[in-house]
């Protein structure tokens, strides 16, 4: 089972759709609403998101080694099947 990390914002609909995608399929995943983190932790997490995705936009989904920027169901499915 690949580890899944979802970096999200509490205000972003595609982030909610990504959560629903995993939940509706019973796939275990970790997620964090970056905008709701305490300031210091937020900065650290945003820096990490920027390092792996090159952007400061959400969602960013990490499946195993693969980084998916934005909500792309096809790429999520492919990454899960790899």
């Amino acid at each position: 089972m690949k580890s899944i990390m979802l970096y999200a914002l509490s205000t972003c609909p595609f982030c909610k759709m990504a959560k629903r995608f995993f939940e509706s399929r019973g796939i275990a995943y970790n997620s964090v609403d970056v905008d709701l983190l305490p300031e210091e932790e937020k900065e650290k997490t945003v820096a990490e998101v920027q390092r792996i995705s090159g952007r400061r936009a959400f969602p960013v989904i990490v499946i195993g080694e693969e980084v998916i920027v934005g909500y792309d169901e096809l790429r999520i499915k492919e990454a899960l099947e790899k």
């Binding site: 914002l9 205000t11 609909p13 595609f14 909610k16 970056v34 400061r56 936009a57 959400f58």
Partner: protein, 134 residues
């Protein structure tokens, strides 16, 4: 009554205003779709954001004008995004992009990358508010 370049206080782009200048006249920014009001400050005409609109009326009219100007359409994601934009307004004081962490002028909806044509390239804006047929 000469045409004059005026600055949009939302997208910060200057555009030519050809209409007759009357205080309180409503002008729509051709770049971002913002509804603006003509006002005279000392000897200068300026464009201000409307004071008689609720935040919800303001953002709805802005995104609808922008979509009309660009030929974009909305889908079922529109309402969750309007709600998210209003949440951003409440929390951070302006309609910052609900899918970006930085609450800065270039991320005010419609954000800079959207104004610069990301919908043409990707079929939708990053958030999924504005869509265009491929």
């Amino acid at each position: 009554m000469s045409a004059e370049k005026m600055l949009c206080p939302v997208c910060q782009v200057a555009f030519l205003v050809k209409e007759e200048k009357i205080p309180g006249k409503k002008i729509i920014c051709p770049v971002c779709g913002a509804v603006l009001i003509l006002e005279k400050e000392r000897d200068f005409w300026v464009l201000k954001r409307p004071k008689d609109m609720t935040p919800e009326e303001e953002i709805r009219s802005r995104v609808e004008n922008f979509a009309r100007l660009r030929g974009y359409y909305f889908n079922e994601m529109k309402e969750p995004l309007i709600e998210a934009l209003l949440k951003k307004y409440e929390r951070y004081g302006d309609f910052y992009c609900p899918c970006k962490i930085d609450n800065i002028p270039e991320n005010v909806c419609p954000c800079l990358e959207t104004r610069q044509g990301s919908v043409e390239r990707n079929g939708r804006c990053h958030c999924g508010l504005f869509w265009k047929e491929a």
